[in-house]
């Protein structure tokens, strides 16, 4: 199971502050290796794409590498490479982030550049068409060559039938094909502002140094006055179970996934979300989990069983279970076993052992995460980008430890109901 690993009790404190122009800054000091991870997060993602322009957040992320007035296309990549640095970017539903990992003495240069790129993007029409082709190839690679990914798109579109979380981050092919330079710049000018950004620096530095460098670089960007507002439709409470089925001759190993909408950490129902983290770990966290034991070990009907839950979203989260049949086992048999195992869990709740094990594993993940400055930078950046705070991240293990058994049972019963679920089936033709 993938979970949002958090950290606690760092040897040095995590410090955060805000520049006069509204830019939020988080500094995580880790002095063990002479390197830093420098990230800028923008509080906009694919769910903020204008209607009919799906994929623009991601396309702009690509175009952000096409140069500024100060550093024409490719110039900064050459500089980063000359320092031995790594750079990249990624787009999600709620945020877009850019990062470089470099030897610590080059932190200032990264900040100079990223500050310049926040407002100075500059490229002409000639780079747009080839880069759009690159994105279309990316989509062909990730989606069109993989039936499971195609089912995933249809599954999300069924889970979120109104909210843009139901639209692929990369966009629909026919809309990507029509994205142009004007779309990209309109989007850029709306969202790429200091008030909408979060700077995260992790590694061999400290808050005093980062503050000084940030004021000299990002601090020179004029404030816009207010952060842009995310304007998104609200997903209604589902009233029906739904099934999506994809049959494809390429499928030789069938699979089933089931999902439910849930609240998020910032929804005012955080207690339920902490409880759902434990539900996910108990049901599908590794080979000792309820579903793995029942379906893979005892009934011998499944090859794999797992759970996925990510409560750090802006509007709504999704709780998902995935199972795949052992070779020769009919999908109906596997689904029957899943239904029974889930019903039994909802009726009885977890055992004390299951609950204790889940707490131990989730809390330990946060200790392991402390070993990795790049992971820490991602944890803090993504949390702040969806509206959580540094204090929320630091308190996460204690909050997990404190969830009572009844809360786990209640959250599971409230959200994991058959009559509000989506089931996705991947089957041979």
């Amino acid at each position: 199971m993938k979970s949002h690993a958090r950290q606690t009790g760092l040897a040095e404190p995590v410090e955060s502050f805000r520049l006069d122009n509204g830019l939020d800054v988080v500094v995580v000091s880790d002095r063990r290796a002479p390197v830093v991870t420098h990230m800028v997060w923008y509080r906009n993602g694919s769910a903020d794409d204008p209607a009919g322009k799906s994929g623009i957040a991601h396309f702009l992320e690509h175009l952000m590498f096409k140069g500024t007035k100060a550093w024409p296309a490719g110039e900064f990549s050459k500089i980063v490479a000359g320092y031995g640095g790594q750079e990249n970017a990624f787009t999600s539903y709620d945020y877009t982030a850019y990062f470089q990992r470099v030897p610590k003495e080059h932190l200032r240069a990264m900040m100079d550049y990223e500050a310049d790129r926040m407002t100075g993007l500059s490229f002409d029409e000639s780079v747009v068409a080839p880069e759009r082709d690159v994105v279309l190839e990316e989509r062909r690679m990730r989606v069109d060559s993989d039936p499971a990914a195609q089912l995933g798109e249809e599954f999300s579109a069924s889970l979120f039938f109104h909210h843009p979380y139901g639209t692929p981050i990369i966009g629909w092919e026919h809309e990507i094909e029509r994205l142009n330079r004007d779309d990209a710049f309109a989007y850029y000018q709306r969202f790429y502002t200091p008030e909408n950004a979060i700077l995260v620096v992790a590694g061999d530095t400290d808050a005093a140094e980062v503050r000084r460098l940030a004021e000299e670089t990002y601090g020179r960007i004029a404030a816009r006055g207010a952060a842009p507002v995310r304007e998104r439709p609200i997903e209604p409470e589902p009233r029906a179970s739904r099934r999506v089925q994809l049959n494809d001759p390429r499928v030789q190993q069938p699979a089933l996934r089931r999902g439910w909408l849930t609240p998020t950490y910032t929804s005012g129902k955080a207690e339920e979300v902490f409880a759902l983290e434990l539900v996910a770990e108990i049901l599908g966290g590794g080979t000792t989990s309820r579903l793995y034991r029942r379906l893979c070990v005892e009934d011998e009907v499944a090859a794999g069983a797992s759970a996925y839950f990510m409560g750090s979203m802006v509007d709504r989260a999704a709780f998902q279970l995935s199972v795949s049949p052992r070779p020769g086992v009919a999908m109906a048999t596997l689904e029957g076993g899943l239904d029974e195992a889930l019903a039994a869990f909802l009726a009885e709740g977890p055992t004390e052992l299951e609950l204790a094990r889940a707490r131990t594993r989730l809390v330990a993940e946060t200790v392991f995460a402390r070993d990795n400055q790049a992971s820490l930078a991602r944890i803090f950046g993504s949390a702040l980008a969806v509206g959580e705070t540094v204090a929320d991240v630091l308190a996460w293990p204690q909050r997990i430890e404190a969830v009572p058994r009844e809360a786990v049972v209640e959250a599971a019963r409230l959200y994991l109901r058959p009559d509000r679920s989506v089931t996705g089936l991947l089957l041979p033709a």
Binding site: G84, R132, N372
Partner: protein
């Protein structure tokens, strides 16, 4: 808005990592990096051999064993064993690779007694219970079925099969559905001791443990394994077959996955270091390589394109690949071939060589910023026969590379232009 950034002086110092060599009373040797600022211990180790020791008619044996060592050992059945791992948040796992059988342990230092006990049981007393064997086989077969129509997996397997027919490298590491289905516990019990012998064992430990304690624990983990005998290293690399050929596997997908291979260099070849510089210029990981610029940036032919040197124990390849629209697959491959030919005839520029050296030297510390990464880097050094001294001299060796060195290697590797090309999809005009 910004003045040009100054070019920094090349700092060729190696990573400041103190590697101790620890020897147990029974003679087991491990490299240790003590790091007490976090309560964690990472252990990385590998046995020489791995999938290449699979019997020819039992491909996938080592991979199956790698999935079974934590499925019950000693008095603990799978449920009891994995329950103890979960209760103590212990990460323990194995992986069979082409040339070695790799294992790792990650634990909070407060749980190290249990963690080392479980590792010792897994290595010395695996059970291979019938239900566990059936379960893990089903998982591997399910995985193989999932990959059966996956263009990337098909292309990769096709490349190895064509390059190394009749050799262990030509067989898929996980076996195939037939071979895996035939594997049973008695054969696994017979094979495991030869996979896990001490002859080529290398061990690296990083984290919150002191040398004396580690020395005292190594014998219980590894001392009971059979001694084995070292495998000689071949004098010359096994030549690649199929050079000059292009094979297309038809699959109804809109994009063609391409992988290509040409001769590479063994790790101990004196030209390996300049060859690494050459590869970085051709298709290395920065957003500046020739393939990245020509295939992606200028022409929009692909999302990803890259190349890498792949030194194996008995052979060596330069491999690369991309994924590109069916109707432009031929154009992509033509561009790739032209860049390789240009490097062979004209060589790179002095500036490209200097920038590549800067990248390779400057990026080295990024490989040492977490305990598992430090352990993994050191284990790779140990497996290819280097000592920890390499850390201190590595960057100087790259700094000493000249344009003439890289031109010489380019001629050596790309001068004879025949590549083995495998493509999966519906490419137009490729073969």
């Amino acid at each position: 808005m910004n003045a040009p950034l100054p070019t920094p002086k090349l700092n060729t110092a190696g990573p400041a990592i103190a590697v101790q060599t620890v020897r147990s009373p029974g003679g087991i040797e491990a490299w240790l990096v003590e790091e007490h600022s976090l309560p964690l211990i990472a252990v990385d180790f590998a046995f020489d051999g791995g999938c290449s020791r699979d019997p020819a008619d039992a491909a996938g044996s080592a991979y199956l064993i790698s999935g079974l060592l934590d499925e019950g050992a000693g008095d603990l059945d799978a449920e009891a064993f994995q329950g103890r791992m979960a209760d103590h948040a212990i990460g323990l796992g194995f992986d069979a690779r082409r040339d070695d059988f790799h294992g790792y342990l990650q634990t909070l230092s407060s749980h190290r007694d249990t963690a080392f006990e479980l590792l010792g049981l897994a290595l010395n007393k695996p059970r291979f219970d019938a239900d566990a064997v059936a379960r893990v086989k089903a998982q591997i077969v399910a995985g193989l079925q999932r990959q059966a129509q996956n263009p990337e997996a098909l292309c990769r397997n096709a490349l190895y099969a064509a390059a190394f027919p009749g050799h262990a490298y030509g067989r898929p590491e996980k076996g195939d559905i037939d071979s895996v289905s035939r594997l049973e516990a008695p054969a696994l019990h017979a094979l495991a001791p030869t996979l896990l012998d001490r002859a080529g064992l290398r061990i690296v430990v990083v984290g919150d443990i002191v040398a004396d304690e580690l020395a005292g624990r190594l014998d219980a983990l590894f001392g009971g394994l059979s001694a084995g005998s070292p495998r000689p290293r071949p004098a010359a690399p096994l030549p690649l077959q199929g050079l000059g050929q292009t094979h297309v596997l038809d699959l109804d997908v809109p994009q063609t996955v391409i992988r290509f291979a040409g001769p590479g260099l063994m790790w101990d070849d004196p030209d390996f270091i300049p060859a690494s510089v050459l590869n970085h210029i051709l298709g290395g990981s920065a957003f500046t390589s020739r393939l990245f610029m020509e295939v992606r940036e200028k022409r929009g032919l692909a999302y990803g394109v890259s190349s890498s040197l792949l030194p194996l124990r008995e052979s060596a390849m330069l491999v690369g690949g991309t994924a590109t629209r069916n109707d432009r697959a031929a154009e992509s491959m033509k561009v790739i071939r032209e860049e390789m030919a240009k490097l062979a005839t004209e060589g790179p520029t002095e500036h490209e060589v200097e920038e590549a050296k800067r990248y390779i030297i400057g990026s080295y510390p990024l490989r040492f910023d977490t305990s598992p990464k430090i352990a993994g880097e050191l284990l790779n050094l140990a497996l290819r026969g280097d000592t920890p001294d390499f850390l201190a001299t590595r960057n100087q060796r790259f700094a000493a590379v000249t344009l003439a060195d890289v031109k010489r290697v380019a001629g050596r590797l790309f001068g004879q232009p025949d590549l083995l090309v495998e493509a999966v999809g519906r490419p137009v005009g490729l073969a």
